[in-house]
Amino acid sequence: MRPMTIAGLAVLGLLIVLPFGLKGYGIYILSLWIVYSIAAMGLNLTLGYAGQVSLAQAAFLGIGAYTTALLMKAGYPFFVGFGLSAGICFGVGLILGYPALRVQHHFLAFVTLGFNALVWLVFRNEEWLTGGTYGLMGFSRPSFFGVSTNNPVVFYFFSLALFLLLAFVLWWIVRSPWGRAFQALRENPIRANSLGVDVRRMTLLAFAIGSAYGGMAGSLFAPLVEFIDPQSFMLDTSLMLLLMVIVGGSGHFFGPILGALLVILLPEWLRFTEGLYLIIYASLVIVLLAVCPSGLLGLYERTAAAVRARSSDRRESAGGSAP
């Protein structure tokens, strides 16, 4: 845990300094990473901690983005949209959690996948509300106390602040008895139930909180990209978010943040390969999963444990050989 804290502080320092050394596009990518990290963190609570498979996180990203964009177009301040996005997604997530009480694993994956596809159809078809395939634009970035976030660096810091706040809240949740109950749900729901954990309530909450994070991420996504259309919230995005959680290490607090970094940056680095980039990218994902199915932090943990074990072996054998 100690080295983790130090690493965390170092990364935070870097995040504060970094935008001043980056051009516009770099700052945009960094902001995008923060937004996706929020959505992936939420999914990590649902999937990584509570063990409930969801392929619908992009739908919540979309609900949040459209809610915020529509409200801002209607002249409401950003935080009204932000709060409402969180609230609506919490509620919808609660409903989406009900299937999880009946079915598990792959069936749940399909239900949530179906849900995502349905929400996407609504975004695409209800033109009067969402603008259909033409999307929505013409909403400005929010401003606070007279400071507009139109400047990319300002918007970046605004996102970073929200991200840190939300990360703290999530950290608090997973470290509280709730977090323990979520983990119990993942590891053995029947035993948890017999020990007084209200499995039904905790399952629904895991979905609702995770979805609310998706909604809040979407709420930031809209003013960041300044144009939203249904394409951004297809199943592919849900899979990308799932990938972030798995690649980073599901059930590890920093896993999805690291995963998001990789998933966002890799395509940028592979850009020079032009048309091949998705092929290389997907192949890398397969290789990565074959090598470390528990994700990067899982790999780190295993290696650290192995190193510890080896050094303690050495100590023991050294002690044994001593007279």
């Binding site: 179906g114 596809a117 078809n125 798995i246 092929i279 990218y281 997907a282 199915p293």
Partner: protein, 292 residues
């Protein structure tokens, strides 16, 4: 009424192709608990093997078909199992879900990048004439597709229930440990399953490509519909997948014509969600023991 009949027949025809993909999907699930999220791409790709044969190499259709069969069995059967599934199987459901999704992307973009991003015309296997039955215009191709797919699935069912190898495969699917004790070569049976899945994919590809043209992005919708068909029919049943496929084909066609073309894809999804919630074992399926 005539229109309804036309829609019904063409729905059954496309539905029977979905059923081919769904049956393969179901077999894989039974034999090795693999959910292949690239199943749609498995149906998309073989058409391009044939096109490589006929257009790039200038072979006639039959030779190209044989070439495609070999490519499909080796790549989508053998290598898929050995390279992707085998290493990840011990690590649970999620790595395989993501790996097969990634595999689908690799296949899709490879076709787009190395062959063509445009939809390719594909030679029809059957006559494209139409006949009139009681005032309804029925395509001969639709009828032929329906008969071919049904025949293939029936043959498969006979193989699985009547031959020794087929029964060994079923034993493997039902209880691997017991099958092993009984002396069944479990590993080989699972390989057979992967090969059969690949062959079914090729067949579906040959049948569907003349209708929808061969395009790199075809797999996405086919894959989703194959899942839905498999689940709706019953995940642990070959005939369940058949019924599911036909049902989805018909529902898709009828709802597009009579309810809403815009929400066409929504109806199978809604059916999927209802089925999973009300009858998770599927219409024809038997309840599987739920693990804790």
């Amino acid at each position: 009424m005539a229109e309804f009949f036309q829609l019904l027949v063409s729905g059954l025809a496309t539905g029977s192709i979905y059923a081919l993909a769904a049956v393969g999907f179901t077999l894989l699930w039974q034999a090795s608990k693999v959910i292949n999220f690239a199943q749609g791409e498995f149906v998309m790709l073989p058409a391009f093997f044939i096109l490589i044969g006929t257009q790039v190499l200038g072979w006639n259709f039959i030779v190209a078909l044989l070439f495609a069969l070999i490519c499909t069995l080796v790549l989508l059967g053998y290598f898929f199992k050995r390279v992707i599934i085998d290493p990840m199987l011990p690590h649970g459901v999620l790595p395989i879900v993501i790996a097969t999704i990634a595999l689908g992307i690799v296949m899709r973009d490879s076709v787009k990048e190395f062959y063509s991003a445009e939809a390719q015309p594909f030679p029809a296997v059957f006559s494209e004439e139409t006949v009139s039955v009681f005032g309804a215009v029925i395509s001969v191709q639709d009828i032929a597709i329906l008969i071919t797919s049904l025949a293939a699935i029936t043959l498969l069912q006979v193989f699985l229930t009547r031959t020794r190898t087929g029964r060994c495969m079923q034993a493997t699917a039902q209880n691997r440990a017991v099958a092993e004790i009984l002396g069944v070569n479990v590993k080989r049976m699972i390989l057979y399953t992967f090969l059969i899945n690949a062959a079914l994919a090729l067949m579906a590809s040959v049948l569907i490509s003349p209708i929808y043209l061969a395009k790199f992005s075809n797999g996405q919708s086919i894959g989703l519909i194959a899942f839905i068909a498999a689940i709706v029919g019953g995940f642990n049943q070959v005939r369940g997948a058949l019924v599911g496929g036909l049902l989805i084909g018909v529902i898709d066609n009828l709802s597009a014509a009579y309810i809403s073309a815009e929400y066409r894809t929504a109806f199978p999804l809604i059916l999927l969600i209802i089925i999973i919630l009300v009858r998770p074992q599927g219409l024809l399926g038997t309840a599987e023991e739920r693990t804790v």
